[in-house]
Symmetry: C2
Subunit: 568 residues, 2 copies
């Protein structure tokens, strides 16, 4: 089947940051935000001048290293319209949206860019380009939605060979839905919203909604082992992607979408998470579900983190199966409240008054509503009967663990703004402030230890750096054996020259704590280069040796996204 | 920790067949069995002499090829008591319980036996033995419960190097239970019943009950990607085993029992299903669950297979989450009824009358109660409220799909005798009859096609062979995207000389049909050598190349269970 769009039509981030050109975080309509920023990291927004957007014309862009003969050979495969090597495209495809990438791209650190971007229209074109890559000893980096925050799509600055970025965005179709089996064959380059739109039109959903949803693709999710916020019900991408096709240097790998994968070591699970080092994923067969008749997000409040975690654990051990369960800790709850817009309608003003009254009441009961109180959201889906029954059970569990039910109002607000968070990092960078995230999977019995030790490590690192810092955290993605802890941190950096060193000081403190306790190096952000330093500790020496052997065996020339996941 | 038992205390099969010496299938107390055997495969049990058990003394056993110096080196590691090279032990450890293995062992086909059996007491001993194996170019085959029906523990008759079988049976302890996380660290050599006993004592269950439960181990389940009959609730072994330790030629591989495995290609999923080719699994961290307060197995009857499958599919799409769902087709239902014991109690006689009356009523409604009617079992676990609610929903679904609810009586009978089936194959071999099983995972949309085409292929192969045959099937292990179809077949072979050729005529017809339709080469019986011929078709050429590369990279000397899963 021919691709539905040309290269020029494929959605892309603004060159210097997340998402659309004309969308940005607005602090002025959120009265709680500026005071919190001032208190926690000394950022006084009211005295700051309006930020100026970076201009690509200010920065020199090095010439492409792609040989004209090689360029012609690739154009022969995909057509002239589907190879791009103009400056903006090369910049956009050379940086993911990790904090270091955002910092570097804004500062025009274009030491090594990809040399061209190829937009194949089908699997045959992917295979033909891959053959050229091997034959001419080029480097190939797959590109999905460009939202990777672990550096997996960023070229190695020491790479001397010409580097191609392969944007799968033209391969964006749902090819087939098997209604009986609840399975859909989907091209790897389809973005989240396009995928859901095509599925929804037939009454289906895949239910995979990572924060990056608007700027990420099925192939990217599979290649980096993504998890969506609704994974409690729909599963992580490893559960959702049942079969796939990947163009490998020696041919096409295809894994069957059948239950009970019982044929030796899992090729499927070698490809998932391979981040382009084994080949290019071109198609996935994914589980799809009928859109639930009823969906509700209910908000709850606990007096503190320990009570909240006990509640979350009790829900996971109950007979209730929510779509998602999420608990913000005290600092994150305060941050969330600081993001609430100033009410403009009468209804909104009344609601704000009601909230003030509630918080006063809670304080009278001994709650610390500023620093300790924890908000929680639970999403229920299914028949009306099921949603009502499960809500009643969860309400009891929350109450038994010292919490109260706030209701559907705040839940609906949370649900609507869930994809807006990534814009905040660009906003903070305008003011020389780093805001970033680190997450890990940990067992239920170690969640509190991870939580407190990560805080300790972060604030110790900030103290050593001599500057302020702010951290908050939520628990999400509940499993039988544990859950994900998702930390967000922010601090002002002191100078452009030392900025990345300051960033890694904080980031590394957090990551090393994860690994020291035995929790995961990453829960769903992949490895790339940002998490690579901990892979040997995470996998152990022999596990790392197995992965290295896998890469060396399948890509002896190191042409496929070399250096990602593990060095060499 | 030191091993709790010596080699001599480790449970083992009788040398020539399944399980205990004094347990055998008894047809005389089952009035329906002999007539069915006569009708379907021309076996008239009433005219047959009583079978004579084979005697090991009748068969010459070749001398061990293990060099005395190597033997001494191994004894130095594990102690004299924990290396066995007497005839019976060597025979027991040289054959799994596949049909070809059972046939060969009964006939004393001892061309190539393992040369010694080593029983390590801990992981260090496993590692020390593995080093000796590599150093002296020996061959090592791991041995769990010896119930493998795909030939994975059977030595290659052309192997010239000395062959060690490593029996993990001394490593049989639950080491630690993390109550909060619902995770237990378990040594790989623990048998199913011993494991459940240790877990039950603390109020936990793993919920993994394959047919082979009494003669299989955690390590064996992990190494062959086992599924238990309760996988709808508890998951296949891939979901249950969250972390593991494996002794690899270069060190110990350990995978962490954390949720959200997001660190590159999955080492964990390379080890699962590796059948000894990458190393020896010594420990698993498994999900455990509190024993459900209420458990009920309810039986249902459908007029035919198509109605039954529609019912099963509707249950899988409902909000009910049973512990297992199972549907026997018409022939298997008839077979099950033929296994019912003659009632001796008054209560039993009344129940039989009630059943006769019910079947007469169903015939009056147009049901074919002999050939078409399909029995189904659904297991419900949880609180009383949940079990009652789910039973009510399933009852409605069954009714809507043309079936009726029989109730808890037949369900309880099914539940009690579920581990007895393996004895039947030995019984049939006494009369020169092969009885065996083939199973596959298939999508919901192809289940009926697989079902009818496998029947066609099997009966065509029997017709070509010129002899009678009987086949029946059930559906079990329900997933979002599909289910397992489990076929049983039987036929009398004509002579010892042609027996295995006749066997493969039937088996291959079934297996090739699986692969031609695109369903799995095996759902949960592993690959070994019996399913190896279809692996290349199942994985595709490039997938097979990846697996071969994995084995070659990690075991370049081919010392670890060589030839299993894939040749070379």
């Amino acid at each position: 089947m021919s691709a539905s769009v040309d290269a020029g039509d494929v959605k892309r981030h603004k060159w210097w940051g997340w998402g659309l050109d004309d969308v940005a975080f607005n602090w002025r309509n959120k009265p709680g935000f500026a005071p919190l920023a001032d208190e926690k990291i000394g950022l006084d927004l009211r005295t700051m001048p309006d930020p100026v957007e970076p201009d690509l014309a200010d920065f020199p862009v090095p010439a492409t290293r792609l040989d004209p003969a090689h360029r012609a050979a690739i154009v022969h495969v995909v057509g002239e319209a589907n190879l791009r090597d103009d400056d903006e495209y090369r910049v956009v495809h050379s940086f993911g949206r990790s904090l270091p990438d955002l910092f570097r791209v804004r500062h025009g650190d274009f030491t090594r860019l990809v040399d061209a971007i190829v937009y194949p229209g089908d699997e045959d074109e992917v295979a033909a380009v891959l053959r050229l890559v091997i034959e001419h000893d080029l480097v190939l980096i797959p590109y999905g939605g460009g939202s990777c925050i672990s550096g997996s799509l960023t070229p190695d600055i020491s790479e001397q060979r010409p580097i191609l970025s392969m944007n799968l965005g033209r391969m964006d179709r749902v090819l087939e839905i098997d209604d009986t089996s609840g399975l859909a064959r989907v091209q790897a380059g389809v973005y989240g919203p396009d995928l859901e739109e095509q599925l929804n039109a037939e009454g289906w959903t895949m239910g995979h909604f990572p924060d990056s949803f608007t700027y990420s693709t099925v192939g990217g999710w599979a290649a980096t082992r993504s998890s969506g916020m609704q994974s409690d019900k729909y599963g992580d991408i490893e559960q959702i992607v049942r079969g796939l096709r990947m163009v490998h240097p020696d041919g096409v790998v295809r894994t069957k979408a059948i239950p009970g994968r019982d044929a030796g070591p899992s090729v499927h699970e070698m490809v998932l998470g391979s981040e382009g080092r084994l080949g290019i994923i071109t198609e996935c067969t994914v589980q799809v579900h009928r859109i639930a008749p009823v969906r509700q997000v209910i908000a709850y409040m606990y007096p503190d983190w320990e009570h909240g975690i006990r509640g979350m654990h009790a829900i996971s051990r109950s007979e209730v199966k929510p779509t998602f369960t999420r608990l913000s800790d005290g600092p994150e709850t305060r941050f969330s409240l600081a993001l609430v817009k100033e009410p403009s309608s009468t209804k909104g003003k009344v609601a704000a008054k009601v909230q003030d009254g509630l918080f006063a009441y809670l304080r009278s009961k001994g709650w610390d509503t500023t620093e300790e109180m924890c908000i929680s959201y639970v999403c229920f889906e299914g028949s009306k009967e099921r949603v009502e029954r499960e809500k009643a059970i969860v309400k009891k569990i929350v109450s038994r663990n010292g919490g109260i039910t706030l209701g559907a109002g705040p839940g609906a607000v949370y649900d609507q703004k869930k994809f807006d968070t990534p814009y905040l990092r660009d906003f903070l960078l305008n003011y020389q402030v780093f805001g970033d995230v680190c997450e890990t999977g940990a067992s239920w019995s170690t969640l509190n230890e991870v939580h407190s030790k990560v805080y300790d490590a972060y604030y110790r690192s900030r103290k050593e750096a001599g500057g302020p810092g702010f951290m908050f955290c939520h628990m999400s993605h509940s499993y039988h054996g544990g859950a994900c802890l998702y930390f967000t941190f922010a601090f002002p950096y002191t100078s452009d020259e030392t900025a990345l060193e300051e960033y890694y000081g904080a980031k590394n403190a957090v990551q090393q704590t994860f690994v020291d306790i035995g929790s995961g190096v990453s829960h769903h952000h992949g490895v790339g280069v940002e998490h690579r330093p901990w892979m040997e500790q995470d996998l152990g020496e022999t596990g790392a040796r197995m992965i290295r052997g896998l890469f060396a065996d399948n890509d002896p020339g190191r042409n496929l996204n070399p250096g990602k996941v593990l060095e060499p």
